[in-house]
């Protein structure tokens, strides 16, 4: 009887909650763009170069009230940016989901890390262009690009190039090779070290001879022992103490531009609107000042200019071919083999033990405990499923979830109803406020 009342109470709460939820999501569908906040997916973690850039723009948009709703930065890091880019590729082309991804989108495609490239998106704009710097450690014997490339040609596969495989840095090395092949067979030996700080550490520690850096990274490490050999831009850069690679006889242009992308099929009027907002943001004094500090050119490209620029960059990247790395041990299979071996050992051990002492393990549990455990698991799964479906507001679902699980677990749901209701309310509204307002995380 008690159980029956509990079920009835739970059902009632569920019903009320669902009604509230439906009322919430029934928005009117017409009117102008943007009606709600625009999400910008940054496919790298917070605090990195791309994230910093995105947040500078976001701030300018907020300060000048260029958008009626806030621009939300969502960091979706992983797998060289492809986790985030795939999410935007598959998003609804309604202009509410954008991607900010630099030339890595092209290098990832040409290195085979992603099956798609710029063609899978509608390009919106290119902002803030900056070239890569070819650099060595301060105590390196190579004083110019020519010195270095001479050795690369004479003794191929001996100079260690610290790289982030599949990223623009790696391609800067490949482009240098191909620019030098007129004079002979030039080959670096590429070593995977990853991000800028790690590549710098490899140079300083003597674990590699040369690498490529962004201008911001170069500036950060120059004082502590980095020497530029060449700047891979068209014009020399004021902050880099080296001539362009081109003027040193190597036709290498390798730059990073922050490109904004929309899912394929986004209407051109919405894209134009975003371009307008970006233009105004980039023109603002605060952005200009901050970009100058980061040594990034505050250039904005859109429309046909952007298309030509993209085609040009794609062609340069596609012109060089990536060599397969040396065969590496198949660690996954080796691990699997060891796990199986150890599994057999452990199974053998416990089998022997069981043979000696007969099992008296399973403790009797009262049925209501099993039932509430299963119901809680069910409720949690349902909660996550409904969150994923995005049919209802986060607050509604969380309120219901806390309410329902608390009622399931509680042995006297009626007596505790008020404290449970209060907790549910605090959890749903409070969590929502903390995450969206304080942490600026976009909850489902």
């Amino acid at each position: 009887m008690k159980a029956a009342r509990k079920v009835r109470l739970t059902t009632l709460c569920l019903f009320i909650g669902l009604l509230y939820g439906c009322a919430q999501t029934e928005d009117s569908m017409d009117a102008t763009y943007p009606q709600r906040s625009i999400k910008v997916i940054v496919p790298f973690s917070a605090g990195g170069g791309s994230d910093t850039f995105a947040r500078i723009i976001q701030r300018a948009i907020e300060d000048q009230e260029l958008l009626p709703e806030p621009l939300v930065i969502v960091n979706v890091p992983g797998a060289g940016g492809t986790i985030g880019s795939r999410r935007v590729k598959d998003a609804r082309p309604d202009g509410y989901t954008l991607l900010l991804l630099h030339d890595g989108i092209m290098t990832a495609q040409h290195s085979g890390q992603a099956a798609y490239g710029p063609e899978a998106f509608e390009p919106v704009a290119g902002t803030g262009d900056v070239g890569l710097v070819i650099a060595v450690a301060d105590d390196s014997p190579y004083l110019s690009l020519e010195d270095l490339m001479e050795v690369v040609i004479d003794e191929p596969d001996t100079i260690l190039f610290s790289a982030n495989l599949g990223a623009p840095v790696h391609f800067a090395g490949l482009m240098l090779e191909s620019a030098a092949t007129g004079q002979g067979e030039a080959r670096f030996r590429y070593v995977q070290h990853g991000g800028g700080a790690k590549r710098y550490g490899a140079l300083i520690g003597g674990h590699a001879e040369v690498s490529a850096f962004s201008v911001a990274e170069y500036q950060q490490f120059r004082e502590s022992g980095l020497r530029a050999l060449a700047y891979c831009g068209i014009e020399p850069h004021p902050a880099v103490d080296a001539a362009t690679a081109d003027s040193q006889g190597f036709d290498v242009v390798s730059r990073n531009m922050q490109f904004w992308w929309a899912p394929k099929g986004t209407s051109s009027s919405r894209i134009e609107f975003v371009v307008g907002v970006l233009n105004k943001a980039m023109e603002s004094e605060s952005v200009q000042k901050q970009l100058a500090e980061l040594q990034i050119d505050p250039e904005v490209l859109s429309g046909s200019e952007l298309q030509t620029e993209l085609a040009d960059r794609s062609a340069r990247i596609a012109a060089v071919s990536q060599r397969p790395t040396i065969p590496l041990p198949n660690l996954p299979m080796m691990t699997l083999a060891i796990v199986c071996l150890l599994g057999i050992v452990v199974a053998g051990q416990s089998w022997k033990k069981e043979a000696i002492q007969t099992v008296s393990e399973s403790i009797e549990r009262p049925p209501h405990v099993i039932r509430s455990t299963l119901l809680t698991i069910l409720a949690t799964t349902g909660y996550v499923l409904l969150l994923q479906s995005e049919w209802f507001d986060f607050r509604v679902l969380t309120f219901l979830f806390v309410l329902v699980t608390a009622l399931i677990i509680s042995e006297q749901p009626k007596r505790h109803l008020w404290s449970i209701l209060a907790t549910s309310l605090v959890m749903s509204v409070g969590l929502h406020a903390v995450f969206t307002k304080v942490f600026v995380i976009d909850l489902p």
Binding site: A79, P329, L331, V369, T376
Partner: protein
């Protein structure tokens, strides 16, 4: 330092004091709640500091760092759930001791050891940041691989009852870390065509699943039994002055180990506390007490995880090379505020170096004060009735997993590993080595691959490089030693 008076007057301004208080307490709170980590708090607070100057921003962020490493000990001790990965080892002894009727003692030991670890690592930060950071860059890829191998062997001695189960758990952890992009080449493997798996399983959802969710299921299944939570309200915090002298060797060793491990890039607070814990266990007179409420175990774990904070700051300020996830975010913060970390930071911005070091000191004192005053009230989380507590924790697990990378996939991973945790619990496979293997596997692979790319495929440098050879020999000795200590008690049995 030239501007010491200026530095002191800056640190004592109301702004700096408020920032430290807010940062430390938020850090402790986030650290105490399973599923929320310091890295998350600091990454998400970074945009809020854009409006501040560089120095106040660093004061806030470093206070959060110190607080978040410390806060985990509360829930680890009273709920057997590590609030952060770094306090995982504290659960092994903190919870049994608290459950055995001494929650105040367990918390007091943890808090006292945290302060000691923080202070010792601060001294080393001030004294050795430059020379030690220069040395650590000399370690090549093969040296790192050997170092990680040594740490992996340590798993065996942490495993608890059975060496084979510990090893199995560690290797399972490595196996689970395998799907996704290869850390060496970026090549995608073992994803069965699911693109959401391209980046593999993330540490946070795996950890929440293994520790928090399986604990919730455990609680649910024992609803009819008296609570397994520990009520600390009745017992007062217990850290005596005599403890400083009584445990001075353990405190010093654990703090130094933690600091040293913190300096090495990529190996953070979790590993620091594991190493210190096993070192304490191996040199203890009562090793059988470890895992059953050993005071030495709590001290080793908590002193070491706090000490890694100071250690990891050394390569960050001296070379601009981050030693952990949080340090990578701090590096971003420095650059955003126009400061260039590296040896020249000492010359160009002595004030900033001073602020970083002073904050580290003050934040540790704040942390100690806050924990001393509020640990039991924070532990009030634990004395809530289960019908309130469990839904709240479940919600945090879901939201925390989601917030990591803004995707529901991680939530499913978290639930999946909850199931794995329940099964492992049933088959008596320890969970700690699993997590350590999970973290170290990719690091080992990354360095081995980089080494092989350097050498053109030759494994020879593993034994020709002096550092690498030393680490491998140490690993070998450790393995022999733990094999011996596993085999010897059997001889005494009839």
């Amino acid at each position: 330092m030239s501007g010491l008076p200026e530095l002191i007057s800056f640190m004592l301004t109301p702004t700096a004091l408020v920032l430290m208080a807010v940062g430390t307490s938020l850090g402790i709170l986030v650290g105490a709640i399973p599923g929320l980590t310091g890295a998350m708090l600091i990454a998400l607070s970074l945009p809020l500091t854009f409006a501040m100057g560089g120095d106040p921003a660093l004061v806030l962020l470093i206070s959060m760092y110190v607080g978040s490493v410390s806060g985990g000990l509360i829930t680890a001790t009273l709920l057997r759930m590590p609030g952060t990965p770094a306090s995982m080892m504290t659960t092994l002894d903190g919870y049994p001791l608290a459950k055995g009727g001494q929650p105040g003692r367990a918390l007091g030991l943890g808090i006292g050891a945290s302060l000691c670890g923080g202070l010792v690592s601060w001294v080393i930060l001030v004294l050795l940041s430059q020379p030690m950071a220069v040395w650590s860059t000399k370690l090549g890829a093969f040296d790192f691989f050997s170092l990680v191998m040594m740490a992996l062997v340590l798993i065996a001695s942490v495993g608890g009852t059975s060496l084979s189960r510990g090893l199995l758990s560690g290797m399972l952890g490595i196996l689970v870390a395998m799907p996704g992009a290869s850390p060496a080449t970026g090549e995608i493997r073992w994803t069965l065509g699911f693109h959401t798996l391209d980046d593999g399983f993330k540490l946070l959802p795996v950890l929440i699943g293994l520790f928090a969710v399986s604990q919730i299921v455990h609680e649910l299944l024992t609803l009819h039994q008296p609570a397994t939570r520990v009520d600390a309200a009745q017992s007062s915090l217990d850290w005596r002055w005599s403890d400083w002298t009584r445990y001075k060797i353990n405190l010093l060793r654990s703090s130094l180990l933690g600091t040293f491990i913190g300096i090495l890039p990529g190996i953070g607070a979790n590993i620091g506390s594991v190493v210190a814990y096993s070192a304490a266990k191996n040199s203890s007179k009562t090793p059988e007490q470890f895992g059953k409420g050993s005071e030495e175990g709590i001290i080793a774990s908590e002193a070491a995880n706090n000490a890694t904070v100071g250690g990891a700051l050394i390569p960050l300020i001296a070379l601009g090379i981050p030693g952990s996830v949080i340090d990578a975010i701090l590096l971003g913060a420095l650059v955003i505020h126009g400061l260039q970390p590296g040896p020249f930071l000492f010359e160009n911005n002595p004030q900033t170096v001073g602020v970083i070091m002073a904050t580290m000191l003050f934040a540790n004192l704040f942390m100690f004060g806050f924990l001393w005053l509020f640990a039991k009230r924070l532990a009030g989380l634990a004395s809530l009735p289960r019908y309130i507590l469990l839904p709240i924790i479940l919600t945090f697990c879901v939201v925390g997993s989601y917030a990591l990378a803004n995707r529901m996939f991680d939530v499913w991973v978290m639930l999946g590993f909850g199931l794995v945790g329940v099964l492992m619990d049933r088959w008596k496979i320890p969970a700690a080595p699993f997590v350590i293997g999970f973290v170290l596997g990719p690091i080992a692979e990354e360095h081995l691959s980089a080494g092989l790319m350097e050498s053109g495929g030759s494994y020879l440098p593993l034994i020709t490089r002096p550092f690498s050879l030393v680490f491998l020999l140490l690993a070998f000795c450790l393995l022999l030693w733990s094999l011996r200590s596993v085999l010897s008690p059997k001889e005494h049995q009839p």
